[in-house]
Symmetry: C3
Subunit: 316 residues, 3 copies
């Protein structure tokens, strides 16, 4: 019988896009990293190092190429130091200009990241926790030249430092994915369509993008087990590591976004048991941490601990 | 002079629809039920036992008829045990498939609940706290075959166990009722229209649906006193018990939904003084409880206690 | 080199419009006013004393002229007493019927406030903390007869009691200003257009409206320094005192509105250093206070204290 699936990684939501800042200082981040160790989180992934004018650290390259806001804190240095001291693996998320999605300008994204990647590795690569790269341009299909964009970025990353490259795509398996966003909302994909898309994408990713951690809240909960089984087959065929990116926020509520209802979390974890190589989450600190600013996040952590201890198995 | 109106009942928001879960565990629910006793809450109403694929307890009947998610906890058993031990009356909310509203298929709702009601009563009816039934299909007028639906469900409930049947309709007396929802937004009703609709509905409910607890935030605050007086006359004419379902969440804010501003709560309670047979609320645990995850909910509880102690009477 | 800019004033969000009530009682407000003193807040501004049917205090004038809700607490008296005891200056925000914006009926607003201003001053003017008037009808340009409205209201205020008159306009310098509101969304203004509008408005305000505290989140963050420099020139030309109304809530998030991310706050304060005569905020109690109901607001306060102590200067 399958065992409970522990979450052993989390995104760090810098630069934040749609999750309000908790406004933690250096001391609170240190407490959080201690919690990471205590709960078995060995991997942290910076979701993006910059987004449009917002930067998580000083960078001469980006400041010379795009309009940016001043940087008041080097969050990357802070995170790497905290990770170094605790033996946590840190994955660096590249820069997302935000304009690719409207202009379909994948070469522009590459042009910005091409000189940025060496600058980053020169500045931070000596940190022992610097363990890999993360591609922040998420996608649900092969449109918008995502194959060219992400394989090129992966090549640039591996050329700079031959470390694992992570991605975290989504499925667009629900009709309400874009609620509250300004993006156009395409039709949800059937599982057949999802498989077709990812078979093609993975055939290009193979050897370049090492990990696909699908966002597990992007199909209906009932469809998650079948979807994960199909992805497992695809990942094996293309020699890609399949992780689950467990969404710890709730997509179904008028408030965008609170911590997820505990049964949804348990269901998603249970559905992934035995199917994925690793479970990470988006993200621990706001929504699941014992240090969360949301009381319901701290309660969610208690329910999650009960699940790890063997409670909350499906009733018959 | 009218006396302060205590809230002596609350809904239990399982399965939740638009209120994020607080993710309480069994111990926290026990604390909450102790709070119920301390503040004079003698009645709890499960708002629905299932909604679409989500279920609050294991049920072979529904699992054989609709696509459902696994059940990880029997919340009904938990609530009944807590209520038994404290002398609290528990009302069981029926199953809402969620599809009636789009398909206008009232007979489909009946077909699901017809075998479900006996299953429920056989499983839970021996609990001394099992005090009655709640009809989860809310309505604001006689459309969508709500009379046929709710009278038929009430008949089935009373045939299974002749216990009180509760309903909690609304008025559609505001133009902004459906903000944030995907339902079409009909025009708000005048008080004359409201009276016409409920005179007809109550004439059918009489003898079957014992209680109408109108949602008190569904007319403009200025119109609440007149609306309640009109409902009092209607309820008396049709021998239905009139309760107030005091909404403890705020409909007026961009955040959907925070605890209500205290003066709105006081105004609604004051407006119902001397007019209703009982005041319940939707709902205590998220928005008014001393255990609320919202600090403003805990503060609201303090203001409500001041009101009960005689403060916050209208100033001249 | 410029020094950190302390926030020495705050709005009091009564009657609230789009910020959920924290439901503080008299004791909590006393704690908050003590915090005002501790953090150097010497000025509080009641954002409006009434809005549509909602009133912050009993008023025979308004009750005779508009449909109002009962008043359950005299918040103005509470605030004035707290301010008196602590040497804090209190500015009284006039009544906003809410209907001006749809009906373009500036004379209706004046007709309501003309008898209301003497009533207010007779009731509250003897309080030593009663320091001035605030014009609650915010605007971003000279449309909707705002010049006639606000200069007439300012004349009435000064005729009743010759005290400073404050305003807090906005710039409409972003394309996403009205997200979540029902107002029509005009095009964002260029800086040239902003200057043209406010040159005209200030020429009429001069000698009547003493202070313009622009809402600092109503241009893109990158544009704030240039915008403030231009406003400084205009304000000097027209002999108006330029304050910054530092928005402590985040406009960029799906949740409307959480405490702002700390780096945005630091950037806006840094941008205003040396340019404004005073910084106030909207508002301290919900979003920046050590007593905030938002944990991220309490954390924001810690980051703000670090800024005042010299941290968080721009990195190079």
């Amino acid at each position: 019988m399958a065992q409970p699936l522990p979450i052993s990684g989390t995104f760090l939501d810098e630069v934040t896009c749609d999750i309000p800042g908790h406004n933690w200082g250096a001391e609170q981040w240190a407490v959080e990293f201690d919690s990471f160790v205590a709960v078995g989180i060995d991997t942290v992934i910076l979701i993006r190092s910059g987004w449009g004018p917002r930067l998580s650290h000083p960078t001469a390259v980006l400041r010379s190429k795009v309009s940016t806001l001043p940087v008041y804190a080097d969050m990357v240095e802070l995170f790497l130091n905290l990770a170094d001291a605790r033996g946590i693996a840190f994955y660096f998320g590249l820069y997302d200009s935000g304009s690719h999605w409207n202009r379909n300008d994948w070469q522009g994204e590459v042009a910005l990241n091409r000189p940025y990647i060496p600058e980053v590795y020169q500045r931070y690569g000596a940190h022992p926790s610097f363990a890999g790269w993360y591609l922040p341009h998420e996608t649900y299909d092969s449109g918008q030249r995502i194959i060219e964009l992400n394989t090129t970025l992966a090549e640039l990353c591996k050329a700079e430092a031959d470390l694992p490259v992570l991605s975290s795509p989504y499925w667009l398996g629900r009709h309400d994915m874009h609620l509250g966003f300004s993006l156009p909302a395409p039709s949800p994909r059937s599982l057949d369509e999802i498989v077709t898309q990812w078979d093609e994408i993975f055939s290009h990713y193979s050897g370049l993008v090492d990990v696909a951690a699908f966002q597990d809240g992007t199909v209906y909960e009932q469809d998650l087990p079948d979807t994960l089984r199909a992805m497992r087959q695809l990942a094996d065929r293309h020699n890609i590591s399949l992780w689950s990116n467990v969404e710890t926020f709730d997509r179904d509520m008028p408030i965008k976004f609170p911590p997820i209802e505990w049964r949804k979390l348990i269901h998603k974890l249970t559905s992934a048991e035995g199917l994925v190589d690793k479970a990470i989450c988006f993200e621990f600190s706001h929504f699941l941490s014992p240090n969360s600013i949301w009381p319901s996040g701290r309660n969610l952590f208690a329910r999650y601990q009960e699940y790890l201890a063997g409670s909350h198995r499906p009733l018959t």
